[in-house]
Amino acid sequence: MSDTIKTTCLHDKHVKLGAKMSPFAGFDMPIQYSSITEEHNAVRKNVGVFDVSHMGEIFVSGKDALKYVNHVFTNDVTNLEEGKILYGMMCYPDGGVVDDLLVYKEFEDDHFLFVVNAANIDKDYRWMLENAEGFDVVIDNQSEVWGQLAIQGPASEDEVISLLGLEDSEAEEEIRNLKFYTFADAEDDKGNRVIISRTGYTGEDGYEIYATPQNINYLWDELMADGVAPCGLGCRDTLRFEAGLPLYGDELSAEISPVMAGLSMFCKLDKEEFIGKEALSAQKTDGAPRKLVGIELHDVAIPRAGYPVELEDGTQVGTVTTGYHSISLDKSICFALVDSAYSALGTALWVRVRKKSFPGEVVKKRFYQTNYKK
């Protein structure tokens, strides 16, 4: 981590709102404004807004862009239509993960946008440059000039229409009809680009808007004036966790491959080639030594990252990666990386919480039924 902590374009506004601020991924970020529980419920039941301007935006273009993206990205963009988005990873040759990310197919031939985790921007950019040799591509890291808001929750569609002043306009239907993992382009009156994307990290319907810092400030103020709940990284984590979504560093890392994390559906092993293909294919065929599972405890004890996962006799067979007493489900649940022999649904496992071990069982990782716009 660098010596100087970075801030997003909305930093002053978070401080003025009285947010509890904390360093995350090299940025001084809001963890909560009111309470994690209230913010979590605002997103599940109504609408909330997150400042996610810390995320990175790296643009790829050039004659070989398609071939290059398929080389560094595990998913297959060959037939990806303009305005569509794919989730996937960039992997090391050994199958470990450089980052998980979204790839947007732009409305222009041979143009793509990579949206990457804040903590990994520099590492990803270097990795992308290092692996561009022999490809006719331009890789442009614009992370510092884009801000981003995530507007999430069942009421987000109406909120976004009103926020962008689209009532009764031609664009209204376009934005309402965007399906999950698609996006639209817009411009402000000065010709600055705005990207409106039906994506999110909460398990709810929602939009993410990419724009200039000035526009992001304007949109944020409008949302606050409209009474939309500002939401911090605290509930961003509880929401994504309940929806079964991984966080880089916890459920994916240089040591935790997509196959181990149960994300091989985002690795197209039948693709001609990509970095990590051989290692991931071997893991898929031979079986990965460890697997990420969901565990539900039959007790109120709360499993936390790093707590041991055990068999009844106390033998450790894994480690918790993320755990909470789930706000939406009122259960103690966690993700854990365990020996594959103990990863089948229904397997009895214990989690050691401080001095005692508490019984539970392996359940599906998607703890909460997601509500995406299909």
């Binding site: 509890k20 963890i31 909560q32 309470s35 994690i36 529980t37 979590h40 605290g234 509880t238 109120v300 004890a301 709360i302 936390r304 909470y324 007493h325 706000i327 919480v353 401080r354």
Partner: protein, 125 residues
């Protein structure tokens, strides 16, 4: 500014102690509950458990994290506020009413190493 009550004693790990004869009534400070955020679960000891000063006797769990509770004095637990099992939010709402345990002290001299309200105000900020 967090609330600090005159007449109570405080530990550096943010527990408060109210002395009633040989009994120490123990809770957590307003500063501690505010730092934790919404408390969703409290891991409580049982009556009859014995602790030395500085031992952890349980934990507070917020949505985000768990924080151990340390006994400011040594002794035997003579009462546990079991009401907190179902209503842990009482610690957020009124941390100085929501006592957690009562301990019969082994050695009242251990109270001398605790902080008074003025001294605690220096570290609770």
């Amino acid at each position: 500014m967090s609330k600090i009550i005159e007449g109570l004693l405080y530990s550096e790990s943010h527990e408060w102690v109210k002395v009633d004869g040989n009994i120490a009534i123990i809770g957590v400070s307003d500063f501690a509950q505010a730092e934790m955020g919404d408390i969703v679960y409290i891991d409580l000891p049982s009556e009859g458990d014995e602790f030395n000063a500085g031992d952890d006797f349980g934990a507070l769990e917020s949505v985000k994290a768990s924080s151990e509770l340390y006994s400011p004095v040594g002794g035997t637990v003579v009462a546990v506020n079991n009401e907190l099992e179902d209503s842990p939010e009482k610690v957020n709402e009124d941390p100085y009413t929501a006592w957690i345990i009562k301990v019969e002290m082994d050695d009242k001299k251990e109270l001398d190493s605790l902080l008074n309200a003025a001294a605690y105000a220096e570290i609770a900020k």
